[in-house]
Symmetry: C2
Subunit: 163 residues, 2 copies
């Protein structure tokens, strides 16, 4: 039997990129900060996103059936905090510069990369939903510094400083 | 229509930890280097692992129905290369110091963390299988430096150097 606190401590040792995942539809734009985003297959181009079912905006992601994964650069640490805060949706999108690609989900203009997606399936696992997402549009920026999360702290990764 | 090369370029912008995922059973021990490992839910404690179905050892992971996720530290860059090479299974496990936790899958002694798992389900998506894994044992080391992969290069993340 694994205690939840031991599991969370263990997972804090897994470095992740930081993402703001967004959607848009009749209920307006919604978004949240996510670490649990993962590449699945390049044929067809597929990524997955895990989302807590208890999140206020969960119903909107499922209803819209589209989302955009915005991969954050080092300049986006404040934005990451905004989209992990208690601010409502409208207030969140006052931060950052947003446009859209194909699905209409908000795309952060200076993200490292935007992955605009159609949600192909939703699988509920424990407290979370796993969205399996077909990528329908991609945009890359010139930004070369990645915001990452490790041991419950932000870190900056520079492309020019490999191991 | 997304070209595979554009998708792979985009995904190279997503920083990931580096893991060696292992299994053991009647066919012996097998393991591969993986970036596509993701936290799913802490109740029950669940992670997922994506694996190319064309990999030689795929059949053994499915057959054994258990795996161990070994999260690599900065000292494990050579080990990462070994488990991504054409070496056969026996030759791979000559590198690193291995023991076992609960399932019998090889656990790397000085990994940042070992997540020993039972595979609860296998979902095929495009070229890959998504293994949904219940964590049954955890071991953390004192190691504080994470090996990460970004823009097709290894990088080192030190806990003592937050953003």
């Amino acid at each position: 039997m694994i205690e939840a606190i031991d599991f969370r401590n263990a997972l804090s040792r897994l470095t992740t990129a930081v993402h703001v995942v967004t959607t848009n539809g009749t209920s307006g734009a919604h978004g949240f900060t996510a670490s649990a985003v993962c590449s699945v297959s390049d044929d067809p181009p597929t990524v997955l996103v895990c989302m807590n079912r208890a999140a206020r905006s969960h119903v909107h992601f499922v209803g819209n059936n589209t989302l955009c994964v915005n991969v954050l650069g080092t300049q986006h640490e404040p934005l990451s905090n905004v989209f992990a805060s208690k601010l409502d949706s409208d207030a969140r999108f006052e931060h950052g510069i947003w446009d859209t690609l194909v699905t209409g989900a908000p795309a952060l203009e200076d993200a490292l990369v935007n992955l605009d997606c159609e949600i192909e399936s939703v699988q509920d696992v424990g407290t979370h939903s796993v969205f399996m997402c077909r990528v329908v549009a991609i945009r890359q920026s010139e930004q070369e510094e990645s915001l990452v999360y490790f041991n419950r702290a932000y870190h900056h990764l520079r492309q020019s400083e490999p191991a």
